[in-house]
Symmetry: C2
Subunit: 352 residues, 2 copies
């Protein structure tokens, strides 16, 4: 699905369309072949019950434990780690522990997020808490995080970034949750600047850690701080596209209920930008959100109003601005990083 | 409250009674004065909402955020870290990051445990999830863990132990939860050996990390592996005493509902040992547990039967055996560790 509306400007002057996505997909597949065995090995030490739940949430098995590859996540974060290390000259393998750690932290955060947000679906299946109960799911999230930390315990050059990302991730999630309590209008409404700060922490931190710890273990620690910034910009771009998919995306592709963010007062960038546009559609959208978006027709109407008020266009533009900033930093640090560049491009013009 | 029934043998031939407890209390207070400011500083970086919840769960504030010192936890784990570093010659201050990290991990585990176990009370107050909701509490637990990891990110000599303890903690909790699904009798019943393995991981790991990382940062990394083992034995002793307090302790002192472990099929050592004793009381206890312990009279009867069947005596003996093993290792590693020794002694003969 192309959420690029209006037609996305390809940063760096490259030809656009689905090419970025296809190249990104190939690159991700190559990385997955590399890190998947290491990830499975890391998880294999868990208590059998914990391992079963971890396998379910990572997409390796059905609820009854039967082997089945549901694909799991996209593997974006490990791919960034491996490709960063490769471009730094250390070989992708040098960042395998980083790749495993960031994927485990990501999996941990999804498991806990679904409990916090009461989300029943994840990746076209039941969320872990829905399948096994809140307590077991919570504990499985903790287990994934514990394994992530152990991966990098003896690599302080990588652990610094991972632990900072972890603190930011939780801070960002707390801010996101606090936003839900705030009103849609009036002096306490959430600003787009607050949103960007929140997603920089919530999504950018872990992408930053993947890139920074990737180059650090790949032999170029002097590039790590700039790659950390690169990843944070990339994270903002990625999250804004995710927000757009959450409003205008096809649930058959996203694997989540349609409009779930709109239903529960989640402050997403497209909606905040639409509200800030001051026109008729913005005023109507504000009134509608204030009075509540319980039924399907109202939610669909809110999505239309958000687009009319320019929220979709503003979101696309901001995503591309952050992608450009990321690509600029990447080109400075790792001018030969063709695959990493292709991967990043594909994120903002996601086709799947 | 003295759970020492029969009268405890004082390991190492010291005079017994309340002395160990009083000395242990003074030692803990000295350590608390040292690490409390560092702990508060570590927590101060949190999002205001997260900081409020963290302050509540650490006993620093009321539910409305008003400043109030409820005492929080005993501070046993940080005391072990600081005293281990001191005895190793590095000065207690050298282990401050370790002390803060282990206390944060402990606080994280309590917050998540209360959600998992549906426990509504903790330290004479509402559990965090009961006060603020499951989602916010879960996230606060994650925040405490993230801060713990960041404390030691640049200290691989300590982080190795902390991360291993973290994995063990979660594995132990998973095993504990899996035990609850298993029957009280028949071939699938939980053995006392399985129990010891579970608590070594669940409780022993973090005490081991406190001791090992304490000596490692205190300048004696060569002692760390033995101090890790020391802490694990201490943890088993400590947990068994906790189990005893949970069955025969005064809820006014423990801060938990009386007999809560018995009510929800928790496999604790005194009960498992009682069931293994083969006498009339054991058979009656088994039948009673199998049929369920819903009402107060039944639970009180179960507690009496567990004592009659020798569960209390067996638990006290095993706690002392593990304490002896811990003290033996401590004397080998750190013969001059008077305060650490007093602290450990006080744990098994707890008076508060």
């Amino acid at each position: 699905m192309d959420v690029g509306h209006p037609a996305p400007v390809r940063p760096g002057g490259e030809a656009g369309g689905a090419v970025g996505g296809a190249v990104g997909g190939e690159v991700i597949a190559r990385c997955r072949r590399l890190f998947d065995p290491a990830l499975r090995e890391a998880v294999s030490v868990l208590h059998p019950w914990g391992a079963k739940m971890a396998a379910f949430t990572l997409g390796w098995s059905d609820i009854d434990g039967g082997s089945h590859d549901h694909g799991g996540g996209k593997g974006l974060r490990p791919a960034i780690a491996l490709l960063s290390a490769e471009a730094a000259g250390g070989g992708a393998e040098s960042a395998l522990p980083v790749a495993v750690a960031v994927e485990l932290v990501h999996a941990f955060s999804l498991v806990h997020d679904d409990i916090i947000d009461n989300d029943e679906r994840r990746r076209h299946r039941e969320a872990l808490w829905k399948a096994y109960g809140v307590g077991p799911a919570l504990l499985t999230g903790d287990a994934l995080l514990a394994l992530a930390v152990r991966q990098l315990a003896d690599r302080p050059e990588a652990m610094g970034y991972l632990s900072t990302a972890l603190v930011e991730l939780v801070q960002g999630q707390t801010a996101d949750m606090a936003f839900e309590q705030r009103p849609w209008d009036g002096p306490d409404q959430v600003s787009t600047a607050e949103y960007v700060e929140m997603v920089t922490a919530k999504t950018g931190g872990l992408l930053g850690a993947a890139a920074a710890a990737g180059v650090a273990t790949g032999g170029a620690p002097e590039l790590a701080d700039r790659m950390w910034e690169m990843g944070r910009h990339l994270g903002v771009a990625f999250q804004i596209v995710d927000d757009m998919l959450g409003i205008w995306g096809d649930p058959g592709i996203t694997g989540k209920p349609v409009h779930s963010d709109l239903r529960r007062d989640k402050k997403t960038y497209p909606v905040l930008a639409a509200l800030g546009s001051q026109g008729t559609a913005a005023r109507e959208l504000s009134a509608l959100l204030v009075s509540g978006t319980a039924d399907d027709a109202t939610v669909r109407h809110a999505a239309r109003l958000a687009e009319e008020a320019g929220g979709r266009e503003a979101a696309q533009m901001l995503a591309e601005r952050h992608l450009s900033a990321a690509v600029h930093l990447m080109d400075m640090c790792l001018p030969g990083a063709v695959d990493l560049r292709a991967l990043c491009d594909s994120l903002v013009n996601r086709v799947s």
